[in-house]
């Protein structure tokens, strides 16, 4: 289970205020989509939840199942089940995908007081999840994201998500750069993982993904604030009408 409560979150990077008062409440098992213009602070919000050290929270709070997350190191947040599928997955030459996942799975298990997986069990899990996102086995041996195409990187994020079986998942434009088949695979991946208890934030610019993954709520983040929330039909409306009609834009943060 995981519920998330974000209250009056203000944050800045390098002295520039990027989020100015975000409120968001996600109950167990809910899917929330966040849309909004470029540079409005969507990735910043995602990074903050995951604990990126460059972003400074100036006020407000993030609670996961009632616990203050801001006190925790990024790895502790991950160990508590927070997973961020990055908008720009990072390349790590020299660390194989398989080794990366082995460290990751076992470190998370360790934090939960579980024994590391046996080599055989791990291999089985990895094969199963690779199949789940229709990722060729050869990607497991390759260095993490190193030389992967844009779409392959995104698929690798979903693979990692499946491996780690997190509780609270933030997908930051996982749909961008995917071809139609890949989009379907990613969406199926999410739908299969979703078990009524896991909660999601899906950051996207397109209604397309939301046809596959139907959100419970859609929010518009603009100028570092949520300026409108609604049901899944809001995404359609935004697709048709853009953001201008909502009034407030993010002029103040666009450089």
């Amino acid at each position: 289970m995981s519920s998330v409560k974000i209250e009056n979150l203000h944050a800045s990077v390098g002295g520039v205020e990027i989020l100015n008062g975000v409120d968001l409440e996600i109950n167990d098992g809910e899917i929330h989509a966040i849309m909004g213009p470029n540079g409005s602070g969507k990735s910043t919000l995602a990074s903050l939840i995951a604990g990126h050290p460059d972003y400074e929270v100036t006020s407000g709070s993030i609670l996961l199942d009632g616990q203050d997350v801001l006190e925790l190191e990024p790895e502790q947040r991950a160990q508590k089940g927070i997973f961020l599928a990055f908008q720009y997955p990072v390349e790590i030459p020299g660390v194989s995908n398989a080794n990366f996942m082995k460290q990751s799975v076992n470190d998370i298990r360790k934090a939960k007081g579980l024994e590391p997986l046996k080599a055989g069990e791990f291999l089985k899990l990895m094969k199963e999840k690779a199949k789940f996102v229709e990722m060729d086995k050869s990607f497991l041996k390759r260095s993490v994201n190193d030389g992967f195409s844009g779409g392959e990187k995104k698929r690798n994020e979903v693979f990692q998500m499946a491996m780690l079986d997190p509780e609270f998942i933030i997908m930051d434009e996982t749909d961008s750069g995917l071809d139609i088949d890949a989009l379907r695979i990613v969406a199926n991946g999410v739908n299969k993982i979703k078990d009524g208890k896991k909660s999601f934030i899906i950051i996207t610019h397109y209604q397309r993904l939301l046809e596959y993954i139907v959100p419970d709520f859609v929010h518009v983040l603009s100028g570092g604030k949520i300026i409108k929330s609604g049901g899944s039909e809001l995404a359609l409306e935004l697709e048709e009408r853009g953001y201008d009609w909502l009034g407030e834009t993010n002029d103040e943060v666009v450089a």
Binding site: A50, G51, H52, P53, E73, P74, E75, R77, A78, Q79, F83, L84, F86, P89, V90, E91, I92, P93, G94, V95, F100, Q103, S104, D107, I108, A111, Q160, L164
Partner: protein
């Protein structure tokens, strides 16, 4: 007179006539050294490298109590079948060594060598170090022993040769002047390890001078493994190589432990289609210093050099990389790359890196690059987001950085040996 010179004078008194070179023949080298004295930081080549410690250590070439043969098994590379040549305080140790020498593969300590019996020795001994720098002259004056290795034409050595330099400093600080002369005949093939180990609670100063000659189409790989005492070991290691037509010389220099390490490596490509690979990896922490000076001279057309040095500097340690590449006027179609990459982990750590390219030919492909950075913060965050703790993520990234060099080694056991050392250093 400085304390260093006083100690050197004492050493000179104990130099005896050698079958290969008499004491009077060596006097000129001593005189040369004395006249020039120790380099100071005003010398361009020593600008960042302070060797003041030489005047503080009361060394001698020492004898020290006996070295236990059981100790050897702990310092050599496990599971690697080698010709093992052990020198203790610069003198060949019959008891501790284990190798076979024959007409095709001569492995002979200088102390046992009759130079008139070995044409290639006579032709090559001291030739490359002639007119060399101060520490080479000091070595030539004081060397207590050395190793001559000769490979006959077409001979492919199955076993690696391991030259193990032990400093026995149980009783007092020790200076070791030891030489290697390696001659690889036409189309021969061999791999040689040169490693250092100090035993005891006093300081050691190694001053190694090696000459490596590759005949046409010879292939020689030379591994310098420097993983000695962090507080007491000081290494001056000069290697000169000469590459004839189609020959391949690969040098690996791993500087993983030592209070002070100065490597000077020079490669003269004097035959067309010759190839020199220079790989270096250094990990310096605490108060240590690692200095790599390399020199690659392309003297004829169509030769290639690949140079790839990288290192991690932590605490108050210092790293110096100086890579000189010379492309002579006639050396058209030269292909030379040089890269130096550094990770600096602390505010007090320092790295000085300087490429020096002198290119006199016009149709060449030369590239060089030097980077100094910190650990990739994005990668670090990415790994932590996947639940991997900060310290481990850092270590993994540093290991990856190091492994790029280890990976190029083609002997599995050396790879494993170094992997183990590096993992231990990085706490993984």
């Amino acid at each position: 007179m400085s304390k260093f010179l006083t100690n050197i004078e004492k050493e000179w008194d104990s130099v005896v006539d050698f079958p290969i070179e008499s004491k009077p023949e060596r006097l000129a080298y001593l005189e040369d050294f004395k006249q020039k004295g120790l380099p100071t930081r005003r010398d361009e080549d020593w600008k960042y490298t302070n060797i003041g410690f030489l005047n503080k250590i009361n060394f001698s070439s020492g004898n020290g109590s006996k070295i236990n043969s059981e100790l050897i098994s702990g310092i050599i590379i496990s599971d690697l079948d080698v010709h093992l040549v052990v020198l203790v305080n610069g003198k060949f140790s019959e008891d501790l060594s284990q190798f076979e020498s024959n007409e095709n593969l001569k492995i002979i300590p200088f102390s046992k060598l009759k130079k008139d019996n070995h044409r290639r020795f006579k032709e090559n001994f001291g030739k490359m170090t002639e007119g060399g720098h101060r520490f080479e002259n000091l070595n030539r004056a004081l060397f207590s022993d050395g190793l001559f290795v000769e490979l006959g034409g077409n001979y492919k050595a199955e076993k690696t040769i391991h030259i193990l330099n032990i400093a026995n400093c149980k009783d007092s600080p020790v200076i070791i002047n030891h030489r290697n002369l390696i001659v690889a005949g036409e189309c021969s093939n061999v791999k040689i390890i040169n490693s250092y180990y100090s035993i005891g609670a006093f300081e050691s100063i190694f001053n190694t001078s090696s000459e490596i000659n590759l005949d046409n189409s010879a292939n020689l790989t030379y591994y310098n493994l420097q993983n000695d005492d962090q507080d007491l070991s000081h290494i001056f290691n000069t290697t000169r190589s000469q590459l004839a037509k189609n020959s391949i010389f690969s040098d690996f220099t791993f500087s993983l432990g030592g209070k002070f390490i100065r490597n000077e490596l020079s490669c003269r490509l004097i035959g067309e289609q010759s190839l020199a690979n220079l790989y270096g990896l250094y990990l310096a922490d605490q108060n240590s210093l690692v200095d790599n000076h390399t020199f690659v001279a392309h003297e004829v057309p169509n030769s290639t050099s690949n140079e790839f040095y990288k290192g991690i500097i932590d605490d108050r340690a210092k790293g110096i990389f100086n890579g000189r590449v010379l492309v002579k006027k006639d050396a058209q179609k030269t292909n030379a790359t040089q890269q130096n990459r550094n990770i600096v982990l602390s505010d007090k750590a320092q790295i000085n890196t300087k490429p020096e390219l002198e290119i006199y030919a016009d149709d060449v492909k030369c590239s060089h690059g030097a980077t100094t950075g910190v650990i990739d913060q994005d990668a670090l965050f990415y790994m932590r987001q996947r639940g991997i703790p900060l310290a481990k993520a850092r270590s993994l990234l540093m290991f990856t950085f190091c492994y790029e060099t280890i990976e190029k080694i083609d002997i599995e056991q050396i790879k494993e040996y170094l992997t183990k050392i590096i993992k231990k250093r990085l706490n993984i």
